[in-house]
Amino acid sequence: MKYKQYAASDFVKDEYFVQWIINPNPERNFFWKEWLKQNPEKFEEVQNAKQIISSFKYKNQYTLSDQELNDIFHNVISTSSKKRGSVKLIPKKLLKIAAAISLIILSAVALFNYFDPVVLDNQSAHLAPNIIEKSTLTGQKKTIKLPDGSLVSLNYTSKILYPQEFDKEVRKVYLSGEAFFEVVSNPDQPFIIQTGSLQTKVLGTSFNVQSWNDQSEIRVTVVSGKVQISEPKGEYSILTPSEMGIFHKSDNSISRKKVDLNRHISWKNGIIHFVNEPLDHVFKKLEKWYGVKIKVLNQDKITGRFSGEFDNESLETVLKGIGFTSGFEFKINDDEVTIN
């Protein structure tokens, strides 16, 4: 039979083989296991093929929470029993917020500290067992579900570390970069995000954290609920919706201000938002957002600022828009852009 002659590449091309690897069922198992028993010398080729096939994955994996699964199912059943008519999805409720939030000042000592920021950055091999790391590259976003059901949207070039199973007393994660959190409410198990030396503690709420290595501030913006940010010496601040807490790395101080949520949160819906930003900042952001390199040929031309918003547009459309108002032309070549 033809399979006797196959090399790994042939197996990879064969849809019956691929289907067995990915969707084993009794029939496929029966056939292939028997065949392997009778042709044991092909084991290595099969293993190689298996490895190649298993390497391809979705970069961005999306899942529905149990709540969402149930909601949709509920809607399906009620629509069908009415037989016709459009039923709107239960409006997207953010996860329930705890009724009362009491002030608990955490002592730095009592907290688990299996995340040593100095060790983490280059040596993930030294992570404690059962710590999961998820990260993104430029031009990439990821949505991750944590062990308690909380959702994290990671922006580009960001990294989050969390245990496979949360501790009974506290839910702790480590973040580098930017992420939007939707935390499941649990007053008995506070949720803590470590970013550098700043800790953000929540009971159940949704908010955005920005902690970039190359910036002097860490920013936490609250969409709903309440969040407490604190630094090792004990200084803290409680933030409410539309408030942004700013931690200044230079002197460990914390300040806060009211902000326009659209400007800071829209990234997670694929909306890129500029408010009176100098063009070189705009280009830097586009580089990270789309994963491209932008080269400006005539620096003098690139003055002025730009305000605007783009909802899930291609890089070309965005550059056309900005170029039109700011007066430049551009050329896109794969992942390199030249501006003149």
């Binding site: 293993q47 096939i53 999306y62 899942t63 699964l69 629509t79 999805l89 694929g270 459309t317």
Partner: protein, 227 residues
């Protein structure tokens, strides 16, 4: 308990709560093949329906989210799909692969819903760069790693340069496990050979970007020239 809660409870009692982990809807159905499960569903088995929903909702959701950042649109489409299945169950055709049937249906539905939402905005953004992004990962640990770290990176970069439809074909083949014929149907291609050609051409393009001296490029070149 409110009226609607009571209704909800009795609906779940009838169908079984989809996300229950305690085995409430014991999956006896995993021992039956797709054609059987589908026929049972068509003939009125609500357990079969719940089983189908449980097994495929998230897979379909993930697939749908590859087409658009508007996840609510994906959720709506998912809901629409299963509603229609339930309402029209008696009139549905048969199938040997439920996954294939569902994928084909939801793809059509999502594209149609996308068009409805905002035709001007979406005209050229269907195959937006971030659709169907592929990751070439290192999670399978083997004694002899057939893909070295740099090859993996090159491969991933090369795939990123492919048009989104080819990336979709790659994922439908290598991750979702569809046959060439099924892929052709899902992607609305008139000829099966075209589906095969996409996978081979995709691999063809990849061959260009790889280093000269590694076993994978030889592998891929073999793939190109042997058909």
């Amino acid at each position: 308990m409110s009226q609607s809660d009571k209704k909800l409870d009795s609906a779940f009692a009838k169908y079984g709560r989809p996300s229950s982990k305690d085995g409430e809807t014991k999956d006896y159905l995993i021992y039956k093949d797709d054609a059987t499960v589908w026929n049972e569903f068509k003939s009125g088995s609500d357990r079969a329906f719940t089983h189908i929903y449980k097994n495929y909702a998230n897979i379909l959701y993930n697939y749908g989210c590859q087409f658009t950042h508007h996840h609510d649109l994906v959720k709506d489409s998912l809901q629409e799909l299963f509603s229609e299945l339930l309402v029209n169950r008696k009139k549905l055709g048969s199938t040997n692969s439920i996954k294939y049937y569902l994928f084909k249906s939801i793809r059509r539905k999502i594209l149609r819903n996308k068009q409805k939402e905002d035709s001007a905005k979406l005209r050229d953004s269907f195959y937006y760069d971030s659709h169907f992004e592929v990751e070439v990962s290192a999670e399978m640990k083997a004694i002899k790693d057939i893909l070295q770290e740099e090859q993996r990176r090159n491969l991933q970069k090369a795939i990123a340069k492919l048009p989104a439809k080819q990336r979709e074909a790659i994922l439908l083949y290598f991750y979702e496990g569809f046959s060439y014929e099924q892929i052709a149907e899902i992607l609305s291609m008139s000829v099966v050979k075209s589906a095969r050609a996409i996978i081979y051409r995709a691999i063809d393009n990849l061959g260009k970007y790889l280093n000269n001296d590694n076993s994978l490029s030889i592998l891929l070149l073999m793939l190109i020239y042997s058909q």
